[in-house]
């Protein structure tokens, strides 16, 4: 077993540290097992989300470029497990590289602040790091409890499809599929993997988002007879768990669909006991039976 030294600046975003400590724990656990070193630098700000550009494009690009400039100072790429942060940095880097007319003012501001204007750092999603940089062979070496018999539906999150113009939009979602298959899970499809979970719409109309986005996928996944819905996106995880609660009060409908994060499943396959860590108490969907099944049957 040989490990190349993989090192990144860790950018967990705000949702995971503030609302999903079990997901952050799983991510750190998995990356530690895979000998991926995470450097944490204290001077990064909010990404900020790409939707900020609707209100002020320059503000979005300048602040996002500032964080990329700080990463460039350290000579490292950013690793983020947040789909929203990933989209913001990926697109900011694209504008910096391909639209000098739009990037000029933001880079001038960075120069005034004494920051590098040569932005060399890239952003990588957790899924990409595990699949591409670490690799499936290395991932397999750490599996002690294969997820045998686990049937999952997947929800990639819209921004995992973000790619360069003309690029392969399914490249990263396929990486997630391969990771799940390597862990031993069976992926069950319903064709609605790309539907929005409703997160962005919820910032304007929460009920509409629950009824016209989240519930469509929940209903479809429920009909698949899977053990759980798995996502690599913190916003999708929060949304699908919360929406199930909201649907009980809105329509008296129960879906009782367990929703888990990809990192949790990898961590479990690597030997982490989610019940000992009380992960089930941090979820808002009924994940305990899934965890019990995996802890009992795994390996």
């Amino acid at each position: 077993m040989t490990d190349m030294a993989l090192k990144y600046i860790f950018y967990p975003g705000c949702f995971i540290p503030a609302m999903l400590p079990h997901v952050e724990y799983s991510i750190r656990y998995v990356l530690n097992k895979l000998n991926v070193e995470l450097q944490e630098i204290p001077d990064l700000s909010c990404c900020p989300p790409k939707i900020t550009s609707v209100g002020d494009f320059k503000a979005w690009l300048t602040i996002s470029a500032r964080n990329l400039a700080l990463a460039s100072k350290h000579g490292l790429d950013l690793l983020t497990p947040c789909n929203g942060c990933f989209e913001s940095y990926f697109e900011a880097k694209h504008f910096i590289e391909h639209r000098p007319d739009l990037a000029k003012d933001p880079l001038d501001i960075l120069k005034k602040l004494g920051l590098p204007t040569k932005i060399e750092s890239n952003v990588k999603h957790f899924v990409e790091v595990v699949y591409k940089d670490v690799g499936l062979n290395r991932l397999s070496e750490e599996i002690v409890k294969p997820l045998k018999g686990l049937r999952v539906a997947v929800h990639y999150g819209c921004h995992l499809f973000v790619t360069s113009p003309g690029g392969d939009t399914w490249e990263k979602p396929r990486m997630m599929d391969e990771i799940l298959r390597t862990l031993g899970a069976e992926i069950v499809r319903d064709g609605l993997e790309r539907i929005c979970c409703g997160f962005v719409m919820s910032t304007i109309d929460d009920t509409k988002a629950v009824l016209e986005r989240s519930e469509i996928r929940l209903r479809s996944v429920k009909s698949l007879d899977v053990d759980c819905l798995v996502t690599p996106c913190p916003q999708c995880l929060i949304r699908f768990e919360y929406s199930q609660i909201k649907l009980r009060s809105l329509k008296n409908v129960r879906y009782d669909l367990p929703v888990v994060h990809l990192a949790e499943l990898i961590a479990i396959a690597f030997g982490l006991d989610p019940l000992k860590m009380k992960f089930d108490r941090l979820h808002r969907s009924p994940v305990k039976p899934v965890f019990e099944k995996l802890v009992k049957e795994g390996g």
Partner: protein, 209 residues
């Protein structure tokens, strides 16, 4: 930089190229006022104008001039600020663009400068309303996001940890402070400087509406 199917001379004014299929290219010009020059280059090389399509993006218009030569489609993209709403006409070079530009003018209210015949083609002559496909200019900051921008301008939009989140993190042995969820004064000051430079602080209703 430009694909071999389109004139190399376009490369000087194109900032982005991508392909959406075989022989199908979208080329973005560095500035909308270069459209006539770009059209001339293509026309001189045997491309004909197929159509012009327009999207209202709120703050700006996105115009696509679709040029065709045999099985190659090269679409020239320009972004036109809504405040300007003026584009050099390509009709003086390509007469076939006459009606296409007039249609865009009627429906979106974009003026094609130096168009030889700027009269209505789609709308009735007595049309008094706004151009039917032109949306209102989006406000500088959508109201829904005003709070977020206020947070960005005043505290770098750094999220904070609730007492419960702090306790849970501690129980799990997670770091007490994790970027970008903390309140480092240096970060806030630097993002505030950016906000000031871009006048974000003047756009948000800090201290009430």
């Amino acid at each position: 930089m430009v694909p071999k199917d389109v004139p190399e001379k376009l490369g000087e004014m194109v900032v982005e190229v991508y392909s959406t299929g075989p022989k199908r290219y979208i080329l973005t010009l560095s500035s909308y006022d270069k459209i006539r020059e770009a059209a001339k280059i293509l026309f001189d090389e045997g491309f004909r104008i197929s159509t012009i399509t327009t999207l209202d993006r709120g703050f700006y218009f996105e115009l696509l001039y679709h040029f065709v030569k045999k099985n190659v489609i090269a679409s020239i993209k320009i972004l036109v600020p809504k405040g300007e709403s003026k584009v050099p006409s390509i009709t003086p070079i390509i007469p076939g663009a006459n009606w296409l530009e007039r249609e865009v003018r009627d429906l979106f209210g974009i003026e094609f400068v130096d168009h030889p015949e700027p009269r209505r083609v789609v709308l009735p002559p007595d049309w008094k309303d706004e151009p039917p496909l032109r949306k209102p200019v989006a406000p500088e900051l959508p109201e829904t996001y005003a709070n977020y921008f206020m947070s960005l301008a005043t505290k770098a939009a750094l999220a904070s940890l609730s007492g419960l989140a702090k306790r849970r993190r501690k129980q799990m042995g997670l770091p007490e402070v994790v970027t970008p969820v903390h309140g480092s004064k240096d970060v806030i000051d630097e993002v505030k400087k950016i906000s000031k430079e871009l006048k974000i602080d003047r756009k948000v209703p800090i201290g009430g509406k």
